[in-house]
């Protein structure tokens, strides 16, 4: 807490070529919460992560939390085993010749031997990741989700200052993903270990990360708070045509048991969504996809849509190659994106400054898009991260 801001940052710059791929990125990310390296496959995000871990050497400079790990001008390059990082790879890569316990202790023993204070205790990690009943098993006898949890635990127990995750969910099916995501959110809240999370899935980034660096073809396209990046219409080719959406933070105000509905307050406007087991007063993060939002210039009546939020148009980006336009709507304290047809924009005479009503069906919230916000106050009933209810999303 007493440290200066510079000591809580990752400053990275790497340039170099690997085969016919060239990487040239420079970015900063806070060493707090989860920062995402986001981009399509082949954009260089995994290479960047390998450079940070020291597994790949490109020319550049890397300062993590005030420590210089690489500085070509000064001839500094810390070997990977001297860097206090934990890495979780796409495939868990557990050591097959060791039991789960042996895997978990591999890094822990070495950290202890080199005198690193055990800030992260094995008891906590085992409890947090639900590994207690797996300790004596062989890695071959675990499910994909269990393997990945062990890999996370193993990395954490090596007492890293920074946890690097290279698409840790991409080899898992939807069920296993839904099972493991709440654990990740739990880590983030309980252990306050900074993470750098590589992903090509904007929904994952929106759900987990606070900060993101967007890469494309080996170059940095944008960096900043996830919330801001998701509201930028100019980034739509990268943040996804289909999955584009924004984040809203809302507070739980009540439940209607009769209709199985949960009510949330968003800066004075009410949002209703299918019931979730959330404590009243808990702050939640909702992702609303642009394609789930419709616009109207007059408040519609006799309509099934439950969420009618008043706002004003901030920005419109028309894509002349398609039928669509992306719009950004200020709904007071937050912004929504709505994907509408260009024809609608013309018919409704939408323009920046125009008052509109944003319509969002309740069902749009019934997806793997909700998480208890990292800043949520410790509510007795709201400690447990919310599980998505396994909707198939159709």
């Amino acid at each position: 807490m007493a440290m200066t801001m510079e000591n809580h940052r990752i400053e990275a710059a790497f340039t170099g070529t690997l085969g016919d791929f060239s990487l040239d990125v420079a970015f900063e990310a806070p060493m707090r919460g989860i920062a995402a390296l986001f981009g399509a496959s082949g954009c260089g995000k995994s290479t960047t992560l390998r450079c940070i871990a020291g597994l790949q050497r490109l020319s550049g400079r890397l300062v993590v939390g005030g420590e210089v790990w690489q500085d070509d001008d000064a001839g500094v390059f810390l070997k990977p085993h001297r860097r206090p990082v934990g890495v979780v790879f796409q495939d868990a890569s557990l050591f097959p010749h060791l039991s789960v316990r042996g895997n978990l202790l591999y890094g822990a023993r070495r950290a202890e031997r080199s005198g690193v204070p055990p800030a992260i205790r094995s008891r906590d990690v085992i409890a947090l990741l639900g590994l207690g009943h797996l300790l004596d098993r062989a890695p071959g006898a675990l499910s994909g989700g269990e393997r990945q949890r062990v890999a996370v635990g193993r990395a954490l127990l090596s007492q890293p200052r920074l946890l690097l995750m290279d698409e840790p969910l991409s080899s898992l099916d939807r069920m296993a993903k839904d099972e493991i995501l709440p654990y990740f959110e739990g880590l983030h809240e309980e252990l306050s270990i900074p993470m750098l999370y590589v992903s090509h899935d904007i929904a994952e980034v929106a759900r987990l990360a606070d900060w993101a660096v967007i890469l494309s073809s080996g170059r940095k396209l944008a960096e900043g708070p996830v919330r801001d990046l998701l509201e930028r219409l100019d980034l739509w080719p990268e943040t996804g045509r289909f999955e584009a959406g924004v984040l809203l933070t809302a507070r739980v105000t009540g439940h209607d048991r009769t209709y199985s509905v949960t009510y949330l307050d968003h800066h004075g406007q009410t949002i209703s969504m299918p019931a979730r087991d959330l404590a009243i007063g808990a702050e939640v993060r909702l992702r609303v996809r642009a394609r789930d939002v419709s616009l109207a210039t007059r408040r519609p009546e006799a309509i099934s849509v439950r969420n009618i939020l008043s706002g004003t148009v901030v920005e419109i980006a028309e894509d002349s190659d398609t039928a669509y336009a992306e719009t950004l709507i200020d709904i007071g304290g937050g912004r929504l994106r709505a994907r509408v047809t260009r024809q609608s924009v013309a018919d409704l005479r939408l323009a920046p400054g125009a008052p509109v009503y944003a319509l969002v069906k309740s069902i749009a919230f019934d997806r793997g898009t909700l998480s208890v916000a990292a800043t949520a106050p410790a509510e007795t009933g709201g400690r447990k991260p919310a599980f998505p209810e396994n909707g198939d999303g159709r």
Binding site: P80, H81, R82, G86, F95, H97, G107, R110, A141, S158
Partner: protein
């Protein structure tokens, strides 16, 4: 006939095979590691040198070894340092010859095993604070265990069974270089069939056991999750 007379031969053979196998594993480990991991262009040339005993007639190998081990070669100089004259026709010379002769049978399976381990487990070990040396012993070698088992069994069996090279560099000095294969040859030459039967039959059973054990071990190594 006197079976008791055969025991020194069997003991010497086992001694030779045990010492040679131990040395083989020791030397083959860095060689196999380098062959598996190096990106040097000339590594296949080194691999070919290691594999040479597979195709060379044992007499050719034995001839060169004889020169190297003899009084005028490096073997002679080393022997000189210990008050000897030559390493040829000594137990030590036989050990050296056996190591050279059996190297491909040990280095190849271990190299394959190291290659199968790949980069990833070693990278993981590095991110878990293991130095390269540490990771080698705690990750690479344990994961390459099937290769070590195959290499050790093959190396041992080949050393027990070698004939041509031993004949060239060892001769048949009792308790020094007179090993099984040579003894069988001499027994047959002197028409002592009964003793030849005992030794030959013993080797047959031994070889069968070796092949069976290896097959079982390999099968077990391939079983997922073991």
């Amino acid at each position: 006939m006197d079976i008791a007379e055969l025991w020194p031969v069997v003991r010497l053979t086992l001694e030779l095979a045990v010492v040679a196998t131990a040395l083989l594993l020791l030397i083959a480990t860095p060689v196999a590691w380098w062959l598996a991991r190096s990106r040097a262009r000339w590594k296949e040339a080194v691999a070919a040198v290691v594999a040479l005993p597979l195709v060379l007639p044992p007499t050719v190998l034995g001839f060169y070894l004889l020169i190297l081990l003899g009084p005028d070669g490096p073997g002679g100089w080393i022997a000189g340092a210990f008050g000897g004259r030559s390493l040829a026709f000594t137990f030590e010379g036989l050990v050296i010859g056996s190591v050279v002769y059996s190297m491909p049978f040990v280095a190849q399976p271990i190299r394959n095993a190291f290659e199968a381990v790949g980069d990833r487990p070693l990278e993981v070990a590095a991110t878990l604070r293991a130095s390269p040396w540490d990771a080698f012993w705690t990750v690479a070698v344990p994961l390459a265990r099937p290769g070590y088992v195959t290499g050790a069994v093959l190396g041992f069996a080949h050393t027990v069974g070698e004939f041509g090279v031993v004949l060239m560099i060892g001769g048949s000095i009792p308790d020094e270089t007179r090993v099984l294969s040579i003894a069988i040859f001499e027994l047959v030459e002197t028409l002592r069939w009964a003793e030849a039967h005992v030794l030959a039959g013993g080797l047959l059973v031994f070889s069968f056991a070796v092949v069976t054990i290896m097959t079982v071990v390999e099968k077990r190594a391939r079983r997922p999750g073991s």
